[in-house]
Amino acid sequence: MRLVLERRAERSKLMTWLSPLLAVGLTLVTGAVIFSLMGLDPARALYVYFLEPVLWWWSLEELVVKAAPLVLIGVGLAVCFRANVWNIGAEGQLTMGALFGSALPILWHEFQSFPVMVLMLALGALGGALYAAIPAFLRTRFGTNEILTSLMLVYVAQLIADWFIRGPWRDPAGFNFPKSVQFEGWQLLPTLGDGRIHLGAGLALVAVAVLYVVMSRTLKGFEVRVVGTAPRAGTFAGFSSKRMVWFCLLLSGGLAGLAGICEVAGPSGHLQPAISPGYGFTAIIVAFLGRLNPVGVLVAGVMLGISYLGGEAAQIDLGISDKTAQVFQGILLFFILACDTLILYRIRLLRPHTA
């Protein structure tokens, strides 16, 4: 038997919608198989993993907390990938955003009135954007591949953050733990009621709404789509591919930076070496699962948030590693990419002698 692809005359509208669902379904089936191979009851394992996180109010809150940074970063990356700009260093931009935004509360701890929050958010976005400007500059000025540079800068950013947190920004009263002073007053993001959901979730929703309009209705969104799918047609239209690289990297870097400061000023309340559990990388999956469409990213962010929570729950309830979550995320991305083939092609199996 041999697998053969046949090109469709037009993109299949049906498959555009069906493919992510198919991918999720296949991931669940794969998960069930893996769980039963591990000697677990697959139904119970899947329940713990994927359903329990949405059944309780506290876990729903936690889900929003996890999904907010994923969506915030994911929408930026969705625009990037649409334009064929491969920013895979969002994790580094997130780290830089966290550092920039934390500068105020750490260096000027008494400044706790409302403006500090606005400034912190602005600085966070600025930090991420500036850090993303490095690969943008290298790509447009020297033609250096942004995939490798943006990724290398992740390691550098984490080392820089590590130096600050263990060095000059360490809390002097913190028993030598590598963490900064606790943020106070408006240095912390406001939350919904007394719960854990913070302003970051609101910002993520705004980003989704704005980018949805930009991508579907505006000339800028049109430009992104043209440059990404047919770069020569983009030049022919009069769009500058260099400006597009700048736009995409600054936008996605800024959003990643915003997510970074929101993590610090939201759930943790202080700066520590582990700022994010890999949100910047998981957001790549979010962007693809969301079909590189802002609204899709919102849905995908929630789903990936579930996998994080499910991983934690599975560790407690089932006694398996919480790292299985990352495996599921990887498998999911594979299935999405595989299912997307169905949008452009029909798949047929041929028996060898007819080939």
């Binding site: 697998l3 053969v4 692809l5 046949e6 090109r7 990938f81 491969w86 895979i88 290298l138 020297f142 033609g143 250096t144 591949n145 995939i147 490798l148 540079t149 990724l151 290398m152 800068l153 390691y155 550098v156 080392l159 820089i160 590590d162 130096w163 060095g167 990388f281 998981t282 790549i284 999956i285 693809f288 590693s321 790292k323 299985t324 979550a325 990352q326 495996v327 599921f328 995320q329 990887g330 498998i331 991305l333 594979f334 990419l337 595989a338 997307d340 083939t341 452009l344 092609y345 798949i347």
Partner: protein
């Protein structure tokens, strides 16, 4: 052991994994495929190598397991990009993310356990020669393998029909198809070779470089290997030079830390990454050099007409 001798020995150990991974990726890219999953294949190779060596007590079985694991990961990538014609960049990223996750799960129960070290071959008499002996004749089998691979790839690419076909497929897959070559099969082969090399590189890390399992122990080496291929402008012998330059930079950082000169350790640790960026910039500034050698079809999907 003199100081210089020790430095050279550590440079060799630091360079070998980069060299192994890069030489494999070079063949993959020559065939017109960009596999960004080197890091993922490498880290799975590392954990499988360690786990097998620990369980069986044989480092050589560990090496074999590493190679097979790398090839298994590569097969996944091949199926997606060749049989299903998916975007190579995205699929490579997926491979890396999956590999990092998978290695974390597999490696969890092996963290902190004592490893099984791949012993140097210690060729009798010759390895007792002062200075040169340990450097030239006292290495483990993977170091020699890495050199052998460079020469084998270099010879294959420039002198044999196999190499000619690989280059042809990477230069113009439509022409190669029209002449009756099975583009997808050639690429599958190259991808599997790349996976084997990345797995070997990973096994080297967990069996020779630091014989233990630490999560994410590849720490970006797979990505640096990708950069090395660009640096080498797809020429095998230049990969050798590049890998050893990077190995030297890596080791210099470690030595500087050990000597306790007043530079923060984080600055020194960031050197390999910063140097990678610098090197990429320098090489990409020279447009003609990179463009002429770049396989013309790199990263493009190919679906034959029926």
């Amino acid at each position: 052991m003199t100081g210089l001798e020790a430095v050279i020995l550590t440079i060799i150990t630091a360079s070998t994994p980069l060299l192994l991974a890069a030489i494999g990726e070079l063949v993959v890219e020559r065939s017109g495929v960009l596999n960004l999953g080197v890091e993922g294949m490498m880290v799975v190779g590392a954990v499988c190598g360690f786990a097998t060596a620990y369980t069986t007590g044989s480092p050589y079985l560990g090496v074999l397991a590493g190679v097979l694991a790398g090839m298994g990961m590569a097969l996944l990538f091949g199926f997606l990009t060749q049989s299903l014609a998916t975007n190579q960049v995205a699929s490579g990223l997926a491979l890396t993310l999956l590999g990092l996750g998978l290695s974390g799960v597999i490696g969890e129960s092996f963290t902190g356990l004592p490893g099984v070290k791949l012993q140097p071959l210690d060729i009798p008499v010759l390895s007792d020669i002062p200075f040169l002996g340990p450097i030239l004749f006292g290495q483990d089998v993977l170091v020699y393998t890495s050199f052998a691979l460079v020469f084998a790839v270099s010879y294959t690419m420039s002198r044999t029909r196999t190499g000619l076909v690989i280059r042809a497929v990477g230069d113009n897959h439509h022409s190669a198809h029209a002449l009756g070559y099975n583009v997808i099969a050639v690429r599958y082969g190259c991808i599997l070779f790349g996976g084997a090399c990345a797995g070997l590189a990973g096994a080297y890390l967990s069996l020779a470089y630091t014989p233990q399992w630490v999560e994410n122990m590849t720490s970006g080496r797979g990505w640096i290997a990708l950069a090395l291929v660009v640096f080498a402008t797809w020429i095998a012998r230049r990969v050798l030079i590049g890998a050893y330059l990077f190995g030297a930079v890596w080791i210099m950082g470690l030595y500087a830390q050990a000597l306790g000169i007043g530079i923060p350790s984080q600055v020194l640790s960031s050197f390999p990454y910063l140097i990678t960026i610098l090197v990429l910039v320098l090489i990409s500034r020279n447009r003609t050099l990179t463009k002429i050698n770049t396989p013309a079809c790199i990263g493009q999907t190919f679906v034959p007409d029926r």
